[in-house]
């Protein structure tokens, strides 16, 4: 296969992967806004919460693209390591924007960051702190100083990540803003527990047997645009949708 053909194949895979990533990130948002439909509040409020949901969707995707090589897209292992890292930063940015925008729009929400706040709000705050810890402690130089043993780091990182998702779930279910029906709760619980179950099963089963595409170049550089691209695209879509649905 010529170098040109290889690169064309690489771009095709990237496009297919990009489309799948967008679908995976937007699915939870579609689910929580429909079944049944939630009335629009205001542009900033709804947008801020949509960013929170996108952040959680990114976190969940991190369990699938956990930094280990996968069958699709058929890129080198470095791609998946970069993708995991970039998606983690995207998740942190989205969740920070969720908190920042809500505090800007409704400063009284500061009351919900104090010790006297409802437990589901403290759970959300703890999830944000955990996400921050997960991102910072994964910076290579820092990680090597804290955990010289890489396997121990991976175990602690995975345990903290599961804790982060559990706390986010508590925050979302407790606030009952969008997961406001038993159908939504059922679908969300089955999806999230299925995903975490799949992750734990794949980790316990050992390394995946990965088939590689023929002759693809090291495609680590794709991962960054593939991580930031969907987040940016979805933010624009969410903004456009909310502009249409906001009451006059």
């Amino acid at each position: 296969m010529s170098k040109r053909q290889t690169e064309t194949n690489g771009r095709r895979y990237a496009l297919r992967f990009f489309a799948g990533l967008c679908a995976a990130l937007s699915l939870p948002l579609v689910l929580v806004v429909q079944l049944p439909r939630v009335p629009a509040i205001s542009l900033v409020w709804d947008w801020a919460n949509a960013l929170g949901y996108l952040g959680l969707a990114c976190c969940l995707l991190l369990f699938i693209y956990a930094g280990r090589p996968r069958v699709f897209p058929p890129y080198s292992g470095r791609f998946f390591a970069n993708l995991h890292r970039s998606l983690g930063y995207v998740a942190l940015l989205l969740v920070a924007a969720h908190v920042g925008l809500l505090l800007y729009d409704q400063p009284l929400l500061l009351q919900h960051l104090k010790l006297s706040a409802p437990l589901y709000m403290l759970a959300g705050l703890a999830a944000l702190v955990l996400l921050l810890v997960l991102c910072i402690s994964s910076i290579t130089a820092l990680r090597k100083r804290i955990w010289p043993d890489y396997h121990r780091f991976k175990m602690i990182h995975a345990a903290l990540a599961i804790g982060c998702v559990a706390l986010s779930g508590w925050h979302i279910i407790g606030s009952s803003f969008y997961l406001n029906s038993s159908l939504k709760l059922g679908v969300a619980s089955i999806s999230v527990s299925g995903l975490l179950g799949y992750y734990l099963y794949s980790r316990l089963r050992g390394a995946d047997r990965v088939r590689r595409g023929p002759g693809l170049r090291d495609s680590a550089a794709y991962s960054r645009s593939l991580s930031y691209g969907p987040a940016l695209l979805l933010v624009i879509i969410v903004l456009a949708l909310l502009l249409l649905s906001t009451p006059k």
Binding site: P36, P39, I41, S42, W45, D105, Q106, L108, L109, Q111, K114, L115, S116, P118, F177, N180
Partner: protein, 115 residues
Amino acid sequence: MTRFSRYLFALAALLLMLAVAYAAADWRWQAIEQRPQLPVAFEHLDHSGVACADCHHNFIDDSGGGACYNCHKMSPEIRARIEPMFHDFCRGCHLTTRMDDQESGPIRECSLCHH
């Protein structure tokens, strides 16, 4: 570090976490009791379509008298739950009405009630 000292370290860390959680629960309870009551804008006239006893339950269950806050803020048994109790009650009713495509009060934004 031997295996025994690792277990000992893990046990000490667990005990420390439990102690912190216990202390935090106590601080949280004190913070709830001491937090100031936020001002609430409430117009009786806006709620003329709602049956009185839906809010003033004490008229029919003899659970107290006077303004809502006399019990809900003063009673030690229920004051810790004043916020979720009122939020769920007011917003729940507003949300149900809004879902039926009728006009209703605020359902999410803090500043529309607390100003």
